[in-house]
Symmetry: C2
Subunit: 304 residues, 2 copies
């Protein structure tokens, strides 16, 4: 199966601790890397992950709280020192460009690559990125400032062609990709060999939804229905519900309710408040509602 992996670089919340790094993830789809959020220290975590810096061309910022974006300037600056030449695309609320531009002009003079900002509207569901392998759309969330999640939808991969059929029908090389992509094969005598006979179906396309930071938002379940993996913030346990409401965060139980109602296959929780020495309380709370829950952890790779 083609690679589709979530690399957790950091899953702490606003207040840094020695247990958790600030928020950042890298989604690796067929060796193309997509970074989500970039808190302070992300560049070191990226180095630790051994993911190839040059494979990262797109960064998605959920919202402009420091723990989700203070690492950008250091990352961009380091890429410059490493003599990157490929454009780096950053998708975020338009305020980020205004904040970063003076810093880039001062600290990153003479870099051999461009940082290209793509303003997104966190209030709308829009496809903001698309290539041959994946489309990425915004998931409007509810937080103390404009915030959105990101839904990664893998594109269908071509069917697998049956080796013995190639030989049997003497299918020429130039037809292989066309058949993989669904065409039938016409024999010299005009007979049609239907595609189903020549191929086995490819693996179903996978989906990943990242939802952080957010208050409990049941209406997102429609958009993320049936997702293979949902990452949902679980800053607090249920005893802190009033604090969760006040700060527009979610409890672990609420994260699990979202996963349940969205009929997600698996749930990964993160963005843990600094108050928890041990996040198992959050895990237990979520599992009671949605058994297929996992705790995010720095340097974890979650394979889809």
């Amino acid at each position: 199966m083609e690679k589709f992996e979530i690399n957790i670089l950091g899953c702490g919340s606003a207040l840094p601790t020695l247990r958790h790094q600030a928020t950042s993830q890298v989604v690796n789809i067929r060796e193309k890397l997509f970074m989500i959020d970039c808190g302070e220290g992300t560049q070191v975590q990226l180095r630790r992950s051994r993911l190839k810096f040059t494979r990262l061309n797109n960064i998605f910022i959920s919202h402009l709280h420091g723990d989700h974006c203070f690492g950008l300037i250091g990352l961009i600056s380091t890429f410059g020192m490493l003599e990157r030449t490929a454009d780096l695309h950053i998708y975020s609320h338009p305020d980020l460009e205004e904040l970063l531009t003076p810093q880039l002009n001062f600290f990153c003079k003479g870099m051999h690559y461009k940082v290209i900002f793509h303003p997104i509207n966190p209030k709308e569901q829009n496809v903001i990125y698309e290539d041959r392998s994946v489309s990425i759309e915004t998931i409007p969330l509810q937080h103390r400032m404009p915030t959105c999640g990101f839904l990664f939808r893998e594109k269908p991969t071509p069917n697998h062609i049956k080796r013995d059929m190639i030989d049997f029908y003497r299918i020429p090389l130039w037809m292989i990709n066309r058949i993989k992509n669904g065409e039938d094969f016409i024999l010299e005598d005009g007979t049609t060999v239907p595609n189903e006979r020549l191929t086995t179906p490819s693996d179903p396309p996978r989906t990943y939804a990242y939802c952080s930071d957010t208050a409990y938002m049941p209406r997102i379940t429609e958009q993320i229905k049936g997702v293979d993996l949902l990452f949902h913030e679980a800053t607090f346990d249920e005893s802190e519900l009033p604090r969760a409401k006040q700060t527009q965060h979610s409890t672990a139980k609420q994260a699990a309710q979202i996963a349940l109602h969205a009929q997600a296959k698996q749930l990964l929780i993160g963005h843990f408040s600094a108050r928890y020495e041990d996040e198992n309380i959050l895990l237990q709370e979520a599992k009671a509602v949605f058994p297929q829950t996992f705790l995010a952890k720095e340097n974890m790779i979650f394979k889809l």
Copy 2:
């Protein structure tokens, strides 16, 4: 002896590695903390050091390269979340205020403390900070942008009064501090008891010089003459001398030559290039010229 300690939070150079953190130190003088430089990740290193955040009121920035200041916004923002109320003073080239102000306005709204910028002129030797225990002056350095080091001069502490003399001459309580600070004591019959008879001299005041980043600058040796500890950058070994010259950094040997000519008592080298897996090559090179050389290391506490 009163506390005078250098806490190394980070001693790497521009390119982050898994071995070293970006530059930052905390000088602890009698439990008052003075931070020098604040690269990305400093706030986490500060937490790791277990130094009390509330004891830190003054930050000194040597120059505006990212590896010396990208950690400021995160540190300031975290202090805000921790409900700090005391002013935080930042001493740096005036450009820093211009760069940080828009970020503070955006990310640090509603904080209960003020960040106060003190512009310094890196080209001049000036006393930029002074209190009862210490004075701090700039050391003009030579780098690719305006840069200065910092010279910490401890103020003399009062002499120690001899306990048995207090009893013998029945010295009243209100005279004790005056005698510690040098006064003689006059007996009821008018006889003068000279101060030397009543006290033993206090420990001599100590000095610490921080010099990073800089090309080889022999003329600084005058200003830092006889310093108890010199921290000097040693980005490269001697085989990289051309690169050192080009980037306006120093080799370990040059750092040692500065220490030797300045008649420093001890030398601590740091700001190691990412190319060294093992900095012992730098240590050996420096020790050949100045035997009392030590390698800086994260989480090290160097006591004066």
